[in-house]
Symmetry: C2
């Protein structure tokens, strides 16, 4: 009896969404949620993108086709404004890569060059393999054990819901070709940064400073990495031949494509939903990041279908050239950070098509209860309240130093890294039911963020809060 | 009470294994079964084969390495006799294949040339695509709708435990390139004959008579076939470019490798366990048919480890050149059919590494109760009694017209056609627990067949029974 009384009292004293939003705004949020769930989450959008455009590596002719596709799509959907903003970056594209064991037996390995890998000399290179457990082991290696050899880094990515296995494992890809160059190696092979045992190599970028020497580098599929380990375990020297043909250009200009639902009362204030339009060249970029494009487009479409406009403006940003170095995100931050006081928040969908299980946010302390109120409207979608921190997604990373308030709608990534950056990232891997749950969450988030009684504090206010906390 | 009495009476009157086999033979069968289950089914054998030899397309240098590996393995295991028998066949090997959509958009398709596909002219061919539901639809097509075009046959293989979806679907691969040639097409593309949505093309052979004109033909992966259908559904003409480079030779001689456990009392009588040593060139042939090689080798090893020899001889046959036309099976039938009266039975393991769920047999009627008795010793492995018919496996097919008695130990093939004839057929796809169940079944079968009180009727006796039944 006392317990029941306690629960009633707690229940009455707990904050309600109605403390922050009007009944009408809440009714609309619920309507958006319900309507999204009986639709397909924008599957038609990702189907059209992956079919008509297909793979769309930044800086290729397919990049230009994707941008044209996006402008036509967004104009056709009746957004209030659609425009392009330039993004300039160095390009890289692959012609081919071939990796094979030449000793003790001749065997082909399934491989993909890592983005920005230099080409090998024509005819390729051949050398004995030296294996390392991870990048740290390579960092600690004596140069005489590495010089003249092909380095093989064998670390495995662990599967997890939040994708936390990616960060530690990806060091091999990000830095392997630079560290191995410093120690005199002639090439680098890594075990793919991915969780599947299907025989696909996972490509991806490397991280380097201009002018830094890099080696030709490729990822081999996980079954091939197992095979290479078994061959090394036989005890005889193992030799590899690798040939990579790829080219760079100094500068290509693509575009971020932005569509606006103009706010009714504070049109200058902006809720920014993002996804990236480019993809790697090998799959059709369905999960990465056609799904994100579909999700935010569907969220925008649902809000456009309302018989009123939100108070603040909502922007959909289709970022350019994410995969090859967050170039679209960098350009956007550069172009808009002076105006971040008007940016309500940023949230990018770029983690496949798994269901969202949690919301986290980087906002002013006084705005956190509004995030909690939004979470209560997301709870029927199975979305819990998460940490009081967020990155906003890769394309908002360059905006974080400028104090952008961001929200993470964290997706279940258990199988995402089975497909990520492979030929196997194709439309059939997307479940429209999961996609609809995502679109519902983004629609509710965008709507309520646009109607919030307070701003989330982007710009100097948020930076000041973080500075004072750090002291 | 009456029911219980009835069951007791039925129980007493039901045949017992002891009616056909001595207590000692049954005790040994049970010992073999138990010992097999605590081991790994010969996983070490398939690991060594796929690592040291790797892919081993018939007629390549890897074929010769595989034969040498087999002779060394079988001699090392202490079989009483190991020898090679020549198998001569025309060879085919791929250099590369490239298939891409050129209109309405440029997109690469994941493809593998079909075995014995001719090369295209250098630079490839390009033509508009015409799509057919299946081979029958192509057979019924008017030549003017096909002439000058690339035929696309879109039939899908259905998934099933017994692999029964393969037969209907594979017609497109076996005959498409011949039928399309007759109607004036310039090339053939098929949807892969496989059940997975992973982006692997499934290769395989085609069936043709010498001198028959064939077109360049390739299989595209199932996600690419979906994509091609979506592109066709856009309503504009779809054009494909295909280039295949491959070569044939007139005749290469490889070998069936045979190992014998010599029978103690009737050494001239033979129980023949088979598997094929060759594989397609793209994977490492772990499931197809490294698993079969492991299973029968492990069965032989278990029997060799006994402190006595079986009454009849047991042969392990590692067949050559199965994938490219059952050449090893043809050569064996040709070399041995005069002696089939001494062949107790044949049984080949060539359906991956899934567990066995059923035994079927083609034997003389009077020997069927012995098959039932053997099944009772397999029942603890989860193996039921199946149909009174069997094929014995692909390499015994050429022996069937000569009256070979055969047994099928039918494996669960639910996932087999996800990997079959793809790059993805690698060691990690094999579960040693399942492999051990297979080895247990083959060991029990081989032992009891060698100890059977009756012969199974291979040769004229079995042919005579079938002739009289057909009349």
């Amino acid at each position: 009896m006392r317990l029941i009384l306690l629960l009633v009292v707690l229940g009455l004293s707990a904050p309600l969404s109605a403390d922050y939003f009007s009944d009408e705004d809440l009714a609309i949020a619920r309507e958006l949620r319900e309507r999204a769930l009986v639709r397909d989450g924008g599957f038609d959008v990702v189907e059209d993108l992956t079919t008509r455009v297909g793979p769309r590596l930044a800086g290729t002719e397919a990049d230009a086709r994707a941008v044209a596709w996006a402008v036509e799509l967004l104009n056709g959907l009746g957004f209030d404004r659609v425009w392009k903003e330039p993004v300039t970056f160095p390009t890289w594209s692959r012609n081919f890569e071939r990796v094979r064991v030449t000793s003790p037996v001749e065997q082909r390995m399934e491989a993909l060059a890592i983005g920005y890998s230099p080409a090998t000399p024509e005819g390729g290179i051949e050398a004995e393999v030296v294996m390392f457990d991870d990048l740290d082991a390579l960092l600690n290696a004596e140069p005489e054990d590495v010089a003249g050899r092909i380095v093989f880094i064998r670390n495995r990515m662990e599967r997890s819901r939040d994708g936390s296995g990616y960060g530690p494992a990806v060091q091999a890809r990000s830095r392997g070709a630079i560290v191995a160059a410093e120690k005199g190696a002639v090439g680098v092979i890594i075990r793919s940064i991915g969780t599947s045992t299907n025989r696909f190599a996972h490509t991806g970028g490397m991280r380097f400073d201009l002018g830094q020497r890099r080696l030709p580098a490729a990822a081999i599929s996980n079954p091939d990495a197992d095979q290479l380990e078994r061959l090394i375990a036989l005890g005889e020297p193992v030799r590899l031949h690798m040939e990579i043909d790829a080219q760079k250009t100094e500068a290509y200009t693509s575009h971020n494509v932005i569509a606006e639902i103009t706010g009714a009362t504070s049109p200058e204030k902006i809720v920014a939903l993002g996804a990236h339009l480019d993809s790697w060249d090998v799959g059709t970029g369905a999960l990465d990041d056609g799904a994100g494009i579909a999700i935010i487009t569907e969220a925008g479409r649902l809000i456009l279908d309302l018989d009123r406009r939100p108070d603040r403006s909502i922007h959909l940003i289709f970022f350019a050239a994410e995969e090859v170095g967050l170039w679209g995100g960098r350009a956007w931050a550069e172009a808009h950070h002076q105006n971040f006081e008007n940016l309500q928040l940023g949230a990018e969908s770029d983690f496949g098509a798994g269901q969202i299980y949690e919301i986290g946010a980087r906002v002013l302390d006084e705005a956190w209860p509004v995030i909690e109120a939004i979470q209560r409207e997301l709870a029927p979608l199975g979305i819990d309240l998460g940490r009081r921190q967020a990155s906003g997604g890769p394309d908002f990373l360059p905006s974080l130093p400028h104090g952008l308030a961001v929200v993470d709608l964290r997706q279940d990534g258990t199988t995402y890294f089975d497909y990520h950056h492979t030929e196997n990232d194709t439309l059939d891997k997307i479940d429209p039911v999961d996609l609809a749950q995502n679109a519902a969450a983004y629609a509710v988030l965008a709507w309520l963020a646009a109607q919030s009684p307070v701003d989330f504090g982007s710009g100097p206010a948020l930076l000041e809060q973080e500075r004072s906390r750090a002291q």
